[in-house]
């Protein structure tokens, strides 16, 4: 069972087993395929689980039961929905730009796949450990907006276009805040490498170790990342009461499913980044010198810790979505440029000062 606590045993065993049988070049390709398939499966499962979770969370918040019919407690509801979406006719507008229209959902999915590759799921379970991990994720996660813009432009629908333009303005602005709030923690770790950031939180998570600036940074990250994933209260790109469905108004069937899946995948990714940088990634929760308590916490496998923290972040986002009204586009930009960005910059200076004086733990 030791591989459950350190996945490098498992990955090394696989690597060794493959190297004995194949050429080094083939091994690399095979491993890449394995990782790719693993992520695809992860996304599929994530889609199913998160859609179900979202529906149940929203239902309980709204004093409803949510899906109850398909399977026990409606657990197979999302599966049934997937089948329905697969069987639906993929309609394309008569005057749509067919190539771009078909390309857009894939661009969004590719961006999500690229971003998830850099996430450390558990000890040794890390597809690629860039030494510029945070920079990479910040760069890649903003690629998704290209897909949204393409979708909005190629649909030949004014609602879609407005939604896409809103989304463009929104994501470009909020990218800044996400990156800067992550930088606040990078000031403490001194490294952009995600595995190093996780290791540096072995004795305590940055949100606790970094005092008030880290908490402010976490709050800003939470707001900005919710905005970056186009979720309520920042779902202006969809804004169903204004733009019917925004950028994916014209999509149906499988292509719509891709957009839908990408939303949840992106949510998982930003929650994963937040959990990694602020909440200690797969590190268990430790309290100072409570040996017994810490031993119990260590007993829980790291992967459970990671998914637990991600789940917590995702729940926060869902809670926001089902409570708040939507912002208007100019208020959205005001929030970013007049509130989040200046506070963020001040926060970084404050954090740098704390770090310089060694006032953090």
């Amino acid at each position: 069972m030791k591989w459950l606590y350190d996945f490098s045993y498992l990955t090394h065993a696989i690597h060794k087993g493959l190297s004995e049988r194949f050429e080094p070049g083939t091994v690399v390709i095979l491993e890449m395929v394995m990782v790719g398939v693993a992520f695809m499966l992860l996304f599929a499962v994530l889609g199913l689980v998160l859609v179900y979770a979202e529906r149940k969370v929203s239902a309980v918040i709204q004093q409803r039961l949510g899906p109850m019919r398909v399977g026990k407690w409606g657990t197979a509801q999302t599966l049934a929905d997937v089948v329905k979406l697969l069987l639906k006719e993929p309609l394309i507008n008569k005057d749509a730009d067919r190539f771009l229209f078909n390309l857009a959902p894939f661009v969004i999915m590719i961006a999500a796949f690229m971003a998830i590759a850099a996430l450390p799921f558990a000890k040794g379970l890390h597809a690629i450990d860039f030494d510029i991990g945070i920079l990479y994720i910040a760069a890649v996660s903003s690629l998704g907006v290209i897909g949204i813009l393409l979708a909005g432009w190629s649909s030949n629908n004014k609602y879609s276009l407005i939604g896409a333009m809103r989304s463009g303005a929104q994501i470009i602005s909020y990218e800044l805040s996400v990156a800067l709030s992550l930088l606040t923690i990078v000031v403490l770790t001194g490294s952009l490498q995600l595995s190093v950031i996780v290791e540096s939180q072995a004795d305590g998570w940055w949100i606790f170790k970094g005092h008030i600036p880290a908490m402010i940074a976490f709050l800003i990250f939470l707001i900005a990342s919710t905005a970056e994933t186009n979720r309520g209260p920042f779902d202006l790109a969809e804004a169903e009461s204004e733009l019917t469905a925004g950028f994916h108004t014209e999509y149906s069937g499988l292509k719509f499913a891709f957009f839908f899946l990408a939303e949840f995948a992106n949510m998982f990714i930003v929650a994963g980044i937040g959990a990694t940088v602020f909440l200690g990634g797969w590190m268990p929760f430790h309290i100072g010198t409570w040996e017994g308590f810490n031993a119990v916490m260590d007993f829980i496998p790291p992967i459970v810790w990671f998914f637990g923290k991600v789940g917590f972040m995702i729940f926060l986002m869902m809670w926001f979505r089902w409570t708040f009204p939507r912002l208007r586009i100019d208020q959205l930009l005001t929030l970013e440029w007049k509130y989040l960005l200046p506070i963020n910059l001040m926060n970084i200076v404050l954090m740098a000062f704390l770090s310089l004086m060694g006032w953090h733990f």
Binding site: V60, Q63, R64, M68, W319, T323, F324, I343
Partner: protein, 158 residues
């Protein structure tokens, strides 16, 4: 200076108002007992409509298959939508030809459940039933004949 204080005040009170909202939804999230959804087809046994609920018009029959309708057409006149159609026949009573009910046709698809026919009936022959599951696969099934086959008028109803 004052504007800076106001700036932070704004942020503080803004965040506070958001937390108040989160507390309300959070309360319901943590109290799943307060869920009010009723699962409809499952609770058919216990689901009871209020007695006055207007579902559809029925012609009351007693155990001897007798009803109280004299075929006077008062309900047909009172109905705003032409939902009720009374078809008469002539029967011999004591050697006289008297108007009587032949078929009581009720077009459920046209009925607005306004209930005007009930007080219009001089003999209280019709009432509004509580049924509400009116969905059928064929529109023609919504045109109903309310008097049972072979039924006749109760004695003493004029």
């Amino acid at each position: 200076m004052k504007s800076i204080v106001n700036y932070f005040k704004e942020i503080f009170f803004g965040l506070k108002s958001l937390v108040t909202g989160l507390r309300v939804t959070g309360h319901y999230f943590t109290h799943p007992k307060e869920i009010i959804t009723q699962q409809y087809p499952e609770n058919r046994e216990t689901l009871k409509m209020f007695e006055r609920f207007r579902g559809e018009v029925v012609l009351l029959h007693n155990e001897n298959n007798e009803h109280k309708c004299t075929g006077c057409s008062a309900c047909e006149v009172a109905c705003p939508n032409g939902t009720i159609e009374i078809i008469h026949k002539r029967v011999d009573v004591d050697g006289r030809k008297v108007k009587a009910l032949d078929t009581f046709v009720y077009h459920l698809q046209m009925c607005t459940m306004c209930g005007l026919c009930i007080p219009a009936c001089p003999t209280d022959a019709i009432v509004m039933a509580n049924t509400f599951e009116h969905a059928v696969f064929d529109r023609s099934k919504l045109t109903k004949v309310l008097n049972n086959p072979g039924s006749k008028i109760m004695d003493g109803i004029k």
